[in-house]
Protein backbone atom coordinates (compact mmCIF):
# COMPACT_ATOMS: atom_id res chain seq x y z
CA UNK A 1 0.00 0.00 0.00
CA UNK A 2 2.79 2.41 0.83
CA UNK A 3 4.26 1.69 -2.61
CA UNK A 4 0.98 2.72 -4.12
CA UNK A 5 0.79 6.06 -2.34
CA UNK A 6 4.51 6.67 -2.16
CA UNK A 7 5.86 9.72 -0.49
CA UNK A 8 3.40 12.24 1.02
CA UNK A 9 5.81 15.03 0.31
CA UNK A 10 5.48 14.32 -3.43
CA UNK A 11 1.69 14.65 -3.16
CA UNK A 12 2.05 18.09 -1.57
CA UNK A 13 4.40 19.07 -4.40
CA UNK A 14 1.80 17.82 -6.89
CA UNK A 15 -0.74 20.15 -5.30
CA UNK A 16 1.56 23.17 -5.17
CA UNK A 17 3.37 22.85 -8.50
CA UNK A 18 0.71 21.05 -10.55
CA UNK A 19 -2.87 21.29 -9.40
CA UNK A 20 -3.04 24.90 -8.17
CA UNK A 21 -1.06 26.62 -10.99
CA UNK A 22 -3.14 24.68 -13.52
CA UNK A 23 -6.58 24.89 -11.94
CA UNK A 24 -6.43 28.60 -11.18
CA UNK A 25 -7.00 29.46 -14.85
CA UNK A 26 -10.07 27.27 -15.19
CA UNK A 27 -11.59 28.77 -12.06
CA UNK A 28 -10.78 32.29 -13.26
CA UNK A 29 -12.59 31.47 -16.49
CA UNK A 30 -15.56 30.28 -14.47
CA UNK A 31 -15.66 33.30 -12.13
CA UNK A 32 -14.90 36.04 -14.59
CA UNK A 33 -16.95 34.42 -17.30
CA UNK A 34 -16.14 37.01 -19.90
CA UNK A 35 -13.51 36.49 -22.49
CA UNK A 36 -10.30 38.24 -23.11
CA UNK A 37 -9.71 39.04 -26.74
CA UNK A 38 -8.40 35.80 -28.27
CA UNK A 39 -6.42 37.78 -30.81
CA UNK A 40 -4.79 40.07 -28.26
CA UNK A 41 -1.01 40.39 -28.33
CA UNK A 42 -0.63 39.26 -24.74
CA UNK A 43 -2.55 36.04 -25.33
CA UNK A 44 -0.65 35.36 -28.55
CA UNK A 45 2.64 35.74 -26.70
CA UNK A 46 1.43 33.47 -23.89
CA UNK A 47 0.36 30.85 -26.43
CA UNK A 48 3.72 31.01 -28.20
CA UNK A 49 5.63 30.65 -24.92
CA UNK A 50 3.38 27.79 -23.78
CA UNK A 51 3.95 25.97 -27.08
CA UNK A 52 7.70 26.52 -26.80
CA UNK A 53 7.76 25.23 -23.19
CA UNK A 54 5.92 22.10 -24.29
CA UNK A 55 8.32 21.72 -27.21
CA UNK A 56 11.22 22.07 -24.78
CA UNK A 57 9.82 19.30 -22.58
CA UNK A 58 9.39 17.06 -25.63
CA UNK A 59 13.00 17.75 -26.59
CA UNK A 60 14.10 17.05 -23.02
CA UNK A 61 12.45 13.60 -23.00
CA UNK A 62 14.25 12.68 -26.22
CA UNK A 63 17.61 14.35 -25.48
CA UNK A 64 17.88 13.50 -21.76
CA UNK A 65 15.55 10.51 -21.58
CA UNK A 66 14.19 9.09 -18.33
CA UNK A 67 14.16 5.45 -17.22
CA UNK A 68 13.97 2.74 -19.83
CA UNK A 69 14.35 5.20 -22.71
CA UNK A 70 17.83 6.11 -21.45
CA UNK A 71 19.00 2.64 -22.51
CA UNK A 72 18.20 3.39 -26.15
CA UNK A 73 21.05 4.82 -28.26
CA UNK A 74 20.57 8.47 -29.21
CA UNK A 75 20.64 7.73 -32.94
CA UNK A 76 17.66 5.42 -32.57
CA UNK A 77 15.67 7.88 -30.44
CA UNK A 78 16.19 10.73 -32.91
CA UNK A 79 15.69 8.38 -35.86
CA UNK A 80 12.36 7.11 -34.52
CA UNK A 81 11.07 10.65 -33.94
CA UNK A 82 12.28 11.75 -37.40
CA UNK A 83 10.68 8.70 -39.06
CA UNK A 84 7.43 9.36 -37.22
CA UNK A 85 7.53 12.97 -38.36
CA UNK A 86 8.00 11.96 -41.99
CA UNK A 87 5.04 9.58 -41.73
CA UNK A 88 3.02 12.36 -40.07
CA UNK A 89 3.74 14.76 -42.94
CA UNK A 90 3.14 12.15 -45.67
CA UNK A 91 -0.27 11.21 -44.27
CA UNK A 92 -1.47 14.81 -44.30
CA UNK A 93 -0.70 15.24 -40.61
CA UNK A 94 -2.18 12.09 -39.11
CA UNK A 95 -1.12 11.94 -35.44
CA UNK A 96 -1.85 8.24 -35.36
CA UNK A 97 0.32 7.41 -38.39
CA UNK A 98 3.16 9.47 -36.95
CA UNK A 99 3.06 7.76 -33.56
CA UNK A 100 2.66 4.29 -35.07
CA UNK A 101 5.53 4.66 -37.52
CA UNK A 102 7.83 6.19 -34.92
CA UNK A 103 7.13 3.24 -32.63
CA UNK A 104 7.70 0.69 -35.41
CA UNK A 105 11.10 2.20 -36.19
CA UNK A 106 11.94 2.22 -32.48
CA UNK A 107 11.01 -1.45 -31.98
CA UNK A 108 12.62 -2.57 -35.24
CA UNK A 109 15.78 -0.70 -34.32
CA UNK A 110 15.97 -2.31 -30.91
CA UNK A 111 15.59 -5.77 -32.37
CA UNK A 112 18.14 -5.06 -35.04
CA UNK A 113 20.62 -3.79 -32.46
CA UNK A 114 19.84 -6.85 -30.34
Amino acid sequence: MSDFIGDWHALVVLLLAGVIPNQIWRMLGLWLGTGIDEGSDLLMWVKAVATAILAGVIAQIVVQPPGALAGVPGVLRYGAVAAGFIAFMLTRRSIFAGVLFGEIVMLAGRWWLG
Binding site: I5, P21, I24, G29, A48, G84
Partner: protein
Protein backbone atom coordinates in the same frame (compact mmCIF):
# COMPACT_ATOMS: atom_id res chain seq x y z
CA UNK B 1 -21.35 6.29 -23.98
CA UNK B 2 -21.23 5.35 -27.65
CA UNK B 3 -20.42 8.94 -28.46
CA UNK B 4 -17.30 8.64 -26.33
CA UNK B 5 -16.14 5.33 -27.72
CA UNK B 6 -16.66 6.37 -31.30
CA UNK B 7 -14.34 9.33 -31.27
CA UNK B 8 -10.86 9.21 -32.68
CA UNK B 9 -9.92 11.82 -30.14
CA UNK B 10 -10.43 9.39 -27.31
CA UNK B 11 -7.90 7.08 -28.99
CA UNK B 12 -5.37 9.90 -29.01
CA UNK B 13 -6.32 10.64 -25.40
CA UNK B 14 -5.80 6.99 -24.49
CA UNK B 15 -2.38 6.80 -26.12
CA UNK B 16 -1.36 10.11 -24.56
CA UNK B 17 -2.24 8.96 -21.04
CA UNK B 18 -0.57 5.57 -21.50
CA UNK B 19 2.55 7.59 -22.22
CA UNK B 20 2.01 9.85 -19.21
CA UNK B 21 1.52 6.83 -16.92
CA UNK B 22 4.73 5.27 -18.22
CA UNK B 23 6.61 8.56 -17.87
CA UNK B 24 5.43 8.90 -14.25
CA UNK B 25 6.66 5.39 -13.53
CA UNK B 26 10.10 5.87 -15.01
CA UNK B 27 10.57 9.19 -13.23
CA UNK B 28 9.83 7.40 -9.92
CA UNK B 29 6.46 8.78 -8.98
CA UNK B 30 3.97 6.50 -7.20
CA UNK B 31 0.89 5.10 -8.93
CA UNK B 32 -1.39 7.10 -6.63
CA UNK B 33 0.55 10.24 -7.53
CA UNK B 34 0.10 9.55 -11.24
CA UNK B 35 -3.64 8.90 -10.83
CA UNK B 36 -4.18 12.01 -8.72
CA UNK B 37 -2.17 14.00 -11.23
CA UNK B 38 -4.46 12.87 -14.06
CA UNK B 39 -7.66 13.35 -12.02
CA UNK B 40 -6.80 16.74 -10.54
CA UNK B 41 -4.69 18.39 -13.23
CA UNK B 42 -6.41 16.88 -16.27
CA UNK B 43 -4.35 18.62 -18.91
CA UNK B 44 -1.80 16.57 -20.83
CA UNK B 45 0.77 19.30 -21.55
CA UNK B 46 0.68 20.56 -17.94
CA UNK B 47 1.17 16.99 -16.71
CA UNK B 48 4.21 16.16 -18.80
CA UNK B 49 5.72 19.58 -18.01
CA UNK B 50 5.11 18.93 -14.31
CA UNK B 51 6.51 15.39 -14.35
CA UNK B 52 9.55 16.22 -16.47
CA UNK B 53 10.53 19.37 -14.59
CA UNK B 54 10.05 17.82 -11.14
CA UNK B 55 12.00 14.71 -12.20
CA UNK B 56 14.90 16.79 -13.47
CA UNK B 57 15.20 18.20 -9.98
CA UNK B 58 14.42 21.87 -10.56
CA UNK B 59 12.60 23.80 -7.87
CA UNK B 60 8.87 23.66 -7.21
CA UNK B 61 8.58 27.30 -8.20
CA UNK B 62 10.05 26.74 -11.65
CA UNK B 63 7.72 23.79 -12.24
CA UNK B 64 4.76 25.84 -11.09
CA UNK B 65 5.61 28.70 -13.44
CA UNK B 66 6.06 26.36 -16.41
CA UNK B 67 2.76 24.60 -15.59
CA UNK B 68 0.86 27.84 -15.18
CA UNK B 69 2.15 29.21 -18.49
CA UNK B 70 0.83 26.12 -20.22
CA UNK B 71 -2.49 26.38 -18.35
CA UNK B 72 -3.35 29.96 -19.30
CA UNK B 73 -4.84 28.62 -22.55
CA UNK B 74 -7.51 26.88 -20.43
CA UNK B 75 -8.91 30.26 -19.43
CA UNK B 76 -10.34 31.30 -22.82
CA UNK B 77 -11.35 27.66 -23.37
CA UNK B 78 -13.52 27.66 -20.24
CA UNK B 79 -14.94 31.04 -21.18
CA UNK B 80 -15.87 29.66 -24.62
CA UNK B 81 -17.32 26.34 -23.42
CA UNK B 82 -19.53 27.43 -20.53
CA UNK B 83 -21.96 29.71 -22.42
CA UNK B 84 -22.87 26.75 -24.65
CA UNK B 85 -24.64 25.07 -21.74
CA UNK B 86 -25.73 27.94 -19.54
CA UNK B 87 -29.46 28.48 -19.04
CA UNK B 88 -31.08 31.24 -16.96
CA UNK B 89 -31.45 28.71 -14.12
CA UNK B 90 -27.83 27.53 -14.15
CA UNK B 91 -25.92 28.29 -10.97
CA UNK B 92 -22.20 28.82 -11.06
CA UNK B 93 -21.59 25.85 -8.76
CA UNK B 94 -23.25 23.57 -11.33
CA UNK B 95 -20.46 24.45 -13.72
CA UNK B 96 -17.45 23.90 -11.44
CA UNK B 97 -16.92 20.30 -12.55
CA UNK B 98 -17.43 21.24 -16.17
CA UNK B 99 -14.75 23.92 -15.82
CA UNK B 100 -12.51 21.23 -14.35
CA UNK B 101 -13.22 18.81 -17.23
CA UNK B 102 -12.45 21.49 -19.79
CA UNK B 103 -9.36 20.62 -21.79
CA UNK B 104 -8.78 20.48 -25.48
CA UNK B 105 -10.59 17.14 -25.99
CA UNK B 106 -13.77 18.20 -24.16
CA UNK B 107 -13.68 21.57 -25.86
CA UNK B 108 -13.62 20.04 -29.35
CA UNK B 109 -16.27 17.46 -28.46
CA UNK B 110 -18.61 20.13 -27.08
CA UNK B 111 -18.60 21.89 -30.42
CA UNK B 112 -19.37 18.57 -32.09
CA UNK B 113 -22.08 17.21 -29.79
CA UNK B 114 -23.82 20.10 -28.07
CA UNK B 115 -25.76 21.37 -31.10
CA UNK B 116 -27.65 18.03 -30.98
CA UNK B 117 -28.42 18.23 -27.26
CA UNK B 118 -31.34 20.32 -25.92
CA UNK B 119 -29.97 23.25 -23.93
CA UNK B 120 -31.53 22.25 -20.60
CA UNK B 121 -29.89 18.83 -20.78
CA UNK B 122 -26.44 20.05 -21.74
CA UNK B 123 -25.04 20.41 -18.21
CA UNK B 124 -25.91 16.78 -17.48
CA UNK B 125 -24.61 15.64 -20.86
CA UNK B 126 -21.24 17.34 -20.43
CA UNK B 127 -20.85 15.88 -16.94
CA UNK B 128 -21.27 12.45 -18.50
CA UNK B 129 -18.90 13.25 -21.35
CA UNK B 130 -16.32 14.71 -18.98
CA UNK B 131 -16.49 11.72 -16.63
CA UNK B 132 -16.15 9.35 -19.57
CA UNK B 133 -13.09 11.12 -20.93
CA UNK B 134 -11.50 11.40 -17.49
CA UNK B 135 -12.24 7.71 -16.94
CA UNK B 136 -10.40 6.86 -20.15
CA UNK B 137 -7.50 9.07 -19.07
CA UNK B 138 -7.33 7.43 -15.62
CA UNK B 139 -7.48 3.86 -16.97
CA UNK B 140 -4.77 4.67 -19.50
CA UNK B 141 -2.59 6.25 -16.80
CA UNK B 142 -2.79 3.06 -14.72
CA UNK B 143 -2.22 0.81 -17.74
CA UNK B 144 0.78 2.85 -18.90
CA UNK B 145 2.24 2.88 -15.40
CA UNK B 146 1.88 -0.87 -14.95
CA UNK B 147 3.16 -1.63 -18.45
CA UNK B 148 6.27 0.44 -17.82
CA UNK B 149 6.74 -1.39 -14.52
CA UNK B 150 6.38 -4.89 -15.95
CA UNK B 151 7.49 -4.92 -19.56
CA UNK B 152 10.92 -5.73 -20.87
CA UNK B 153 13.26 -2.80 -21.51
CA UNK B 154 12.48 -2.86 -25.22
CA UNK B 155 8.73 -2.43 -24.81
CA UNK B 156 9.02 -0.11 -21.84
CA UNK B 157 11.20 2.24 -23.86
CA UNK B 158 8.72 2.11 -26.75
CA UNK B 159 5.92 3.09 -24.38
CA UNK B 160 7.97 5.97 -23.01
CA UNK B 161 8.48 7.20 -26.54
CA UNK B 162 4.69 7.57 -26.91
CA UNK B 163 4.70 10.83 -24.96
CA UNK B 164 7.12 12.83 -27.12
CA UNK B 165 5.62 11.40 -30.32
CA UNK B 166 1.99 12.02 -29.37
CA UNK B 167 2.62 15.54 -28.07
CA UNK B 168 4.92 16.52 -30.91
CA UNK B 169 2.44 15.52 -33.59
CA UNK B 170 -0.68 16.81 -31.87
CA UNK B 171 1.04 20.17 -31.29
CA UNK B 172 2.24 20.21 -34.90
CA UNK B 173 -1.27 19.43 -36.07
CA UNK B 174 -2.74 22.26 -34.02
CA UNK B 175 -0.12 24.71 -35.27
CA UNK B 176 -1.90 26.89 -37.76
CA UNK B 177 -0.13 30.22 -37.91
CA UNK B 178 3.52 31.12 -38.33
CA UNK B 179 3.79 31.99 -34.61
CA UNK B 180 2.71 28.46 -33.59
CA UNK B 181 5.04 26.70 -36.00
CA UNK B 182 8.01 28.88 -35.06
CA UNK B 183 7.31 28.47 -31.34
CA UNK B 184 7.28 24.69 -31.79
CA UNK B 185 10.44 24.39 -33.88
CA UNK B 186 12.43 27.01 -31.95
CA UNK B 187 11.25 25.48 -28.66
CA UNK B 188 12.57 22.07 -29.78
CA UNK B 189 15.86 23.56 -30.97
CA UNK B 190 16.47 25.87 -28.00
CA UNK B 191 16.06 23.34 -25.22
CA UNK B 192 19.34 21.47 -25.89
CA UNK B 193 21.14 24.83 -26.10
CA UNK B 194 19.59 26.06 -22.85
CA UNK B 195 20.42 22.73 -21.20
CA UNK B 196 24.11 23.36 -21.93
CA UNK B 197 23.92 26.53 -19.85
CA UNK B 198 22.78 24.31 -17.01
CA UNK B 199 21.15 27.21 -15.20
CA UNK B 200 18.47 25.05 -13.59
CA UNK B 201 15.95 27.18 -15.47
CA UNK B 202 16.46 25.48 -18.85
CA UNK B 203 12.81 24.93 -19.69
CA UNK B 204 11.72 28.44 -18.81
CA UNK B 205 14.71 30.07 -20.51
CA UNK B 206 14.27 28.16 -23.75
CA UNK B 207 10.46 28.47 -23.66
CA UNK B 208 10.35 32.21 -23.05
CA UNK B 209 13.14 32.89 -25.57
CA UNK B 210 11.64 30.72 -28.33
CA UNK B 211 8.08 31.89 -27.67
CA UNK B 212 9.06 35.56 -27.61
CA UNK B 213 11.03 35.30 -30.86
CA UNK B 214 8.12 33.47 -32.51
CA UNK B 215 5.74 36.17 -31.33
CA UNK B 216 7.87 39.05 -32.61
CA UNK B 217 8.56 37.40 -35.96
CA UNK B 218 4.81 36.97 -36.34
CA UNK B 219 4.18 40.64 -35.47
CA UNK B 220 6.91 41.76 -37.83
CA UNK B 221 5.50 39.66 -40.69
CA UNK B 222 2.05 41.07 -40.02
CA UNK B 223 3.31 44.63 -40.41
CA UNK B 224 5.28 44.16 -43.60
Amino acid sequence: MSSIVSTVLSLVLFVTYIGIGALAHDTHFSLAWAMLCTALVWAGPAQIILITTLASGVGILQSAIAVTMSAIRLFPMVVAVLPMMRTPGTKRRHLILIAHFTAVTLWVECYRFLPHVPRERRVAFVHGLGCGLLGIGLCATVIGYLLAANLTQTFASAILLLTPLAFLFSTARNSKGLADILALTLGLAFYPVAALLDSGLDILVSGVAAGTIAFFVHKWREQT
